[in-house]
Symmetry: D2
Subunit: 385 residues, 4 copies
């Protein structure tokens, strides 16, 4: 079985998805084979380069044309967030399966509209929460589901980065609320929330706080990308998103939770971490050591209790049998391979992949509840949303 | 110079303080020499054993008698918390210096009364926040003070224990609000708050949440101490304190903060930890590895940036020149030696030791603000207190 | 520029090389593009499956036919070790560039013959010491070369695995001297030696010891592969290679060294580790955390000296600019991408890639010196070889 | 029961022993109580200060006088190594129990003479290998003895320090063979050997190598102690001991072993570390984190295998019930308390303490075998000694 893919977007995520489509058939030959049919973007020159470099068969500069093509089975959306909704609605209307990067949309209402559109026509839909697909995270999920951690008491999550600590770092689009919608909360917090949903379940209520530490930054030169540096002498503009956001949670199952997202934690390039404490055991994860899960069991014999550093690269660990012998690690890029494999298998089996738009909506609901709690300085119930 | 000590209490803290008095003259000969003059407790038999075992010269079974003795310069209070206030007020009235374990008192009002009493007569007063005296914590303080971390953006603190995860663990006095006053918040959270005050400064407002996961436990048999286990078949009684408490903070200097205290984090015996993120650097500390501080500097050259694991046992580190050659670690007990040395030096220099009752009061104010925020489900300003 | 590749072998290494050829053009578009022209193996069925799965354009069941093809520029040899020599000699004779997996050959004499053959016709030759291509290892090399570690005093290397600790694990071909040539020494020790050559330079003399702990094992059933388990009740046969090998070294530059290779270190799946101590600094590496290098500088200021955990994923680190933003790790598979990129760039620039057959020969010389030192129970000079 | 102690020496080890005598009765009240009766040294002024500071009742400036005193039960020898033998022989002759610091003597012959002298008169004798008394090391021993690691295959030990990396560090007595006898081998290697004997058992044969990296150093000024720095401009003298020493071992039980001792490993203040690999499990220890033992069991279930970081501070761990609640660590100083408690209990029970002079002799035999193997460049059997 083959599946023809049309992809909108060709930057960071476009590259990650392309590698996944390329490598999946090699390491997961039992899944349907994705065919890299067409790539779509607005800038013909950049697009052509990406198509050649990533190995796509054809190009489209208008996503409407892509969606209209008969030879496309799946639309992969990793264009800027504010374009997600329109593309997804059109794809659903055209009866295409949809793989959409997070955040699903800029608002909860939009994301719900996308979910309904996809569900109403019966296509498969997936949202790009790739961190779920680290084998160590899958192991955490399995331990929770098998009851090996017991009743969950406490969930602790933090996503720490440090790429804008320099006050002269320019005012890139991610720092502009009109374009990015949100700052650390929507960017990093969204991942934290999705992992919590995946591992622990729904939240009941939240209360948060946020801060913008550097309120003005030099305007970027036209050439400045995400990681670019503009001129220090450039005129300054206001930062309109949060630099850091924190919130407390009460989960539906009674557990308490704390969440922290920041772009101002020097020394942390990509610390996407969580800890779960249950009545029978605990686990800890840090994405900077993504092949490892720290696991503690309360019923280990008395003298030799301690967190075990499990290197999740054994054949027993999710997806790892497909790669290398035990002890040979994988990286960030491979989480996308696993994600794509889940999507392909789901389509083949005529079931919804996980995580799908329902998960995207659930995440958006918590994000908006947190934002409301910050503005109104009070606890906000998720059911309010 | 010598200083005659009279100590009330002879359990866990009594033992820790006794070792400190014993060892201080050997490792810190420049400080005044504490003389272990008299130990005081209500149970004559237990007291006699403690006096012999710890090496105290005499005994008193009534603290009033101890306070009245002419040959006592310093009253060391490590009796149960609800006794702190009366003893301290009497000691102040008698013109004795006071060294009081944390928490200073059960209420903010009481602790303020104690502070005023001590200040009005001009005696020296100290409160027992011993974690400040780990050399690695002193190094963190020094880096903050010297500006090497820059402007502080984020403070993260967590104190995790696991000693009551077993639901059959009996209802010891620490789980009874009438006696203990508070649960994880007052016990563990107090240490977190004091370290934050020490390292970062005052807080402006807080909002918290707490939970009691196991609401009933077997009544302890008469023999059950802190770590004892009663009969599983014993009748049950209600747990009246919090098992876990979390809160968010905004500091006076603009930094954001998160705090978590729990006795339900399996795998953590005594994880008293913090991380500080500033504009120039970050530090991390975990008491289970109390000789180490993780230090990151943003201006390290590009290729070799990373958290340094500093083993704070070099002669350059606070107090360490007194102990062993570099690389030879100290333990929990030695934090009390340092604490006592600070007290002795302060008395000799006719200055207040640090931390003193002011710090105890400041900690109590935050604790009560957090409690109010939990009850009233709203942000509470510290100045309200 | 394109380069047509013909690959002999399609198992573990064949898969790793195939992924490298696939991904290289996507992440390193400046290098010549490898074309996956033909794959070669003896079993037509297995070969056909591999060709389809990995994406090779055509197949050959006889390597002589492959070598004879006009449309092949580069012969990639990852067939069993005992086939390396004949294929390489034929490839050289045919004027093809050669990329040969380690070990270059079963004997030092053979490897020298291969080097001479390749050199005499002027083709490019590379040997597959892929661990050099972890960015953290490249960083270690750079620090040594820039003199930032000063004069090197001590090199410590250990490669620990645990895949044959179970005495019922069958007698696979890697445990048969006739086929594998050597055990832990040739398999794991070879990587240790190459990294030492890369990082520190030549050795002067060695003395070693080895041991075979389990001397008999069940004969494997015909279906048993590397990781398979045969029947416990199967008749037993003798293990004819070493389970563990250790040796001491004196380097040409005066440094002392210790090396340990074992397949009997429970808990270690793939601990390929080294530490270098110099007069100005030290570094530590462990492949199980391949994205990290621990770096210590003696001239860091006194209070904040400590090993820095450098996450070698910044744009400043070798090869990493091609992948993801800082903090997003890579895995084992990506070391082959880098290796292939070095090969492609070298061919384009008409220079020998590094490591090449000279490095393979140098490694083989040390291996044989160690073996001789074990047999003759004496120090053996490398120049004896 | 009380025991009167007379101690010869009052520097580093004298201080460590004094703290142990002071603290033992407080934390281990069931052991006989040591009475700090007399301290002995040659310099009256330094001695008087030490006596006052450490809390000894009386002084002697001649160890012969001390040994002759009727009120002394135990002679504690921590004077310079070259004085050990005479004092011990005299003490034995006088019927005193003996506690002697390592190394027992400067030569194997001397140490044997000391053992025979003590045995012939039936006094108790102990040698100061304090590292055995870290609770984490005791746990390792227990796991080995209970067979939980299975058959031992591999022992790996390294003691790394960095205090003389600076070439201008003066030529202190520890670098003079006439006084110190040996360098890194006798100082650090002796500890490694003793731990190996304790944990694994006897060795069969060894082969070693050593190096002196900095062959000349400035003569120290008269004031320079162990850690002092003399003048860079001082005339230079030859370093006559080894800076680093390495050796390989075959144990009597068939295990292989590697040992490394160096004072030139920047970043390591006191890394006294070992790893044991057995057929059922492995353990790892590093003295810089002396409260922890890493423990791996091969029979842990497949998905959750990994080294456990056991914090050896639970009541179940050796000696820890006497100190603080779980999670509250101890330091270097407390290993001496445990050592002294073993000695006191042994005397009370009329049995030899462990480790005793037999262990001191066994260690010396290996040290001399290593030295011979270095000189003669060959494997040396321990039974040769």
């Amino acid at each position: 079985m083959k599946l023809n893919v049309g992809m909108v977007g060709y930057k960071f995520m476009g590259k990650a998805h392309s590698q996944a489509y390329k490598d999946a058939p090699m390491f997961f030959p039992d899944a349907p084979k994705p065919v890299m049919k067409a790539i779509c973007g607005r800038d013909p020159e950049g697009l052509a380069q990406a198509a050649a470099q990533f190995g796509w068969e054809s190009m489209e500069t208008d996503w409407r044309a892509l969606v209209a093509r008969d030879d496309i089975d799946l639309i992969d959306i990793n264009a800027p967030s504010n374009a997600h909704k329109d593309i997804a609605l059109a794809a659903a209307k055209a009866g295409k399966h949809i793989f959409c990067e997070k955040p699903l949309a800029l608002t909860l209402a939009d994301s719900r509209e996308m979910l309904e559109a996809a569900e109403s026509v019966g296509v498969k839909h997936m949202v790009g929460f790739n961190y779920r697909f680290a084998p160590a995270v899958q192991l955490a999920k399995k331990l929770v589901e098998e009851g090996r951690l017991g009743r969950i008491y406490h969930y602790r999550a933090w996503f720490l980065q440090d790429w804008i600590v320099d006050p002269d770092f320019p005012l890139v689009w991610r720092l502009d609320k009109n374009i990015a919608g949100s700052g650390s909360l929507g960017d990093l917090g969204a991942h934290l929330i999705d992992l919590a949903h995946f591992l622990i379940g729904d939240m009941k209520e939240v209360i948060g706080m946020s801060e913008t530490f550097i309120k003005e930054r030099p305007m970027p030169s036209s050439m400045t990308g995400l990681s670019g540096k503009g001129s220090v002498d450039a005129p300054k503009g206001p930062v309109t998103v949060d630099d850091a956001a924190l919130f407390l949670t009460r989960f539906a199952n009674g557990a308490v939770g704390s969440f922290e997202a920041t772009r101002y934690a020097l020394g942390h390039r990509c610390t996407n971490a969580f800890e779960i404490n249950g009545s029978k055991g605990s686990v800890k994860f840090d994405f900077e050591r993504m092949n490892e899960l720290q696991v503690y069991f309360g019923d280990d014999s008395e003298e030799v209790q301690g967190f075990r550093r499990v290197l999740a690269t054994d054949p027993a660990h999710a997806y790892m049998n497909a790669w290398w012998p035990a002890g040979h690690t994988i990286g960030y890029g491979q989480t996308f391979t696993h994600e794509v494999v889940e999507l392909l298998h789901a389509i083949a089996a005529d079931r919804q992949p996980v995580p799908n738009f329902r998960d995207g909506v659930a995440c958006q609901a918590v994000l908006e509840a947190v934002e409301r709690s910050i503005v109104e300085r009070r606890w906000v119930g998720i059911e309010e949303m």
